[in-house]
Symmetry: C2
């Protein structure tokens, strides 16, 4: 048991030619029943396992797709990854997963690694601006699809979710349930997602002449940041409290909820309605189940793979930018006051 068996060993053991063994593996119909059985027995007895490196060397390309995400721990990406893996498996490819952790250096390492592996193509949620490294990929003809990032269609295909539409959806929902004094809670607007969600909310508020939107800047996108905003609101007193709060993500919303419910001065949703964004697992099991905006992550992952396949198959590069619309998930935290 020194070395793993090769196709040649199998051929000898079954007394056939190497080409025949290869045919058994790749084109079973071309081989007679008798021979096939002999070969399969030999494979079994020797514990033969295909050497993918040799296969891929001959084929000129691998059957793997590279996927680089900003943070595997983030449920959004976890879900996208899972969907991409499943979609890839259906078409016989495997996904190599890389986690850049928002670090351009790690991202670069993975890009290089995947190039050496001769991946069929690359799905990437890039760190910061689209780097020159991605342009290099393009020149080298490595099909690439940007994930969760709009792209110049002359250069790349991309899949993304319309954050402006999500913001509109959230604010519109608050307005539809009778709230008029809205507040937006969100981290630095330098983050594109935050800015887009705010912009969508503003658009909805402009549709109602008597509605107002107050912007409450939060220090970050965490539960604790949400709690400080909440504490600040509690101190204001009832008269100046907004009656509908839209948070740029669920963590912020959970923090705000903690503040408001702890003091027992305000009730959700009777005094204030609260809606978040992302629909993380915790949203449904919050003290007051949290309404949220759900992003179609499975669709995102699946579509990314499909766009990539298109690029791989067609010679001439026709890029497409696909944008999905998020979905409103209504729970108790924004129930209509009348209905409790």
């Amino acid at each position: 048991m020194n070395r793993t068996a090769s196709i040649k060993d199998v051929a000898n053991h079954a007394s056939v030619a190497v080409g025949t063994v290869s045919n058994v593996l790749n084109y079973p119909d071309r081989v007679s029943q008798r021979t096939k059985e002999r070969v399969l027995r030999a494979i079994d007895e020797l514990g033969f396992v295909r050497n993918d490196a040799a296969r891929q060397l001959r084929a000129g390309h691998s059957r793997t797709i590279g996927l680089i995400v900003l943070d595997v721990g983030n449920p959004f990406f976890t879900s996208v990854v899972r969907a991409a893996e499943d979609a890839a498996a259906l078409q016989g490819s495997a996904v190599l997963l890389g986690d850049s952790g928002h670090d351009a250096g790690r991202e670069a390492n993975y890009i290089d690694l995947f190039q050496e592996q001769r991946v069929q193509g690359l799905l990437i949620s890039p760190v910061g601006d689209v780097t020159e490294r991605l342009d290099l990929l393009r020149e080298r003809g490595v099909p690439t699809v940007l994930v969760d990032r709009l792209a110049d269609e002359s250069k790349f295909s991309s899949v993304a979710v319309d954050d402006d539409a999500g913001g509109y959806l959230a604010a519109r929902h608050l307005l539809d349930t009778g709230r008029r004094r809205l507040a937006f809670v969100g981290g630095p607007t330098s983050i594109r997602q935050v800015a887009d969600r705010l912009q969508g909310a503003e658009r909805a508020v402009k549709e109602e002449p008597d509605a107002t939107l107050e912007v409450l800047d939060s220090a970050g996108q965490t539960v604790l940041a949400g709690r400080s905003v909440g504490d600040m609101l509690v101190e204001r007193g009832r008269a100046e409290l907004p009656d509908g709060i839209f948070c740029a993500n669920d963590l912020l919303a959970l923090g705000v909820m903690q503040s408001l419910t702890m003091t027992h001065t305000f009730r959700i949703p009777e005094d204030v309605a609260l809606i978040g964004y992302d629909d993380i697992d915790f949203a449904v099991s919050a003290v007051v189940p949290l309404s949220s905006i759900r992003q179609p992550t499975e669709l995102l992952g699946r579509t990314a793979i499909e766009l990539l396949s298109e690029e791989v198959e067609s010679r001439n590069p026709v890029h497409r930018a696909v944008v999905f619309t998020p979905e409103l998930v209504v729970r108790q935290s924004t129930a209509t006051p009348g209905e409790g």
Copy 2:
């Protein structure tokens, strides 16, 4: 720009032999300065990227390590993965990540895939019992290290965390802060982790003659399951309430906390102390910051890689089972009543 450049193209372009190009890449010292520069320029001009398949075919093995986890979304594994990747990178290997999602079929697919890729070795957190497939790997001489699972040392190396010690640590902490009527909240004890944590807690309680431990079975390991247990406790009334609760994981603890704090009948930690397990991100930002037991995930990942390296390098397979002791993280939810 039809085909990616090969080492032969580079050699022609720089007017040297293929061996020289290879030397520039692998043993730069063997090559004269002048030649090296010419070759590097050619590499740059042609956009040459090493073909890993060819390299690996010649070398007989890859520079990658397979890692199969039960759930990439679980923060415990996410952290282990990150640590393993970093440790592998240090020794010049890359990690191929597979997510079995607790599904034996997906696990089997990844094992097969990684075998075809000729990974140097495999880290796996196996689904259910150690399968015959792993025994096959062993026979084929693929070094394998089990993660988060104790293994028969005659067969595999393994890294795991001592759940019994963790349970002891949690209960001992409750006892040390003066609590005597303890309760354990945990899902079906058929789950090994749950059973071990309970056993450790029982061990601690036996050390105090006047202490008792009540076992409250929960329907699962979720926030909602925790909340039903909490609701049940609230109904009991103060006299029969335990004064220290140890939950088999943080989600359960957060659920219990929601119930107890919502009614405002009981205060944490004054009336009841509460401690969880895993120290997830949410623990620190709970309404009452949650004490918990932290598992040394980074250490787990790093050590797994080290054990694997040992197996890869040494001829004769000497397996080791490494068990780590978890760590107590004290927060407000178990503060000593006196200190409030």
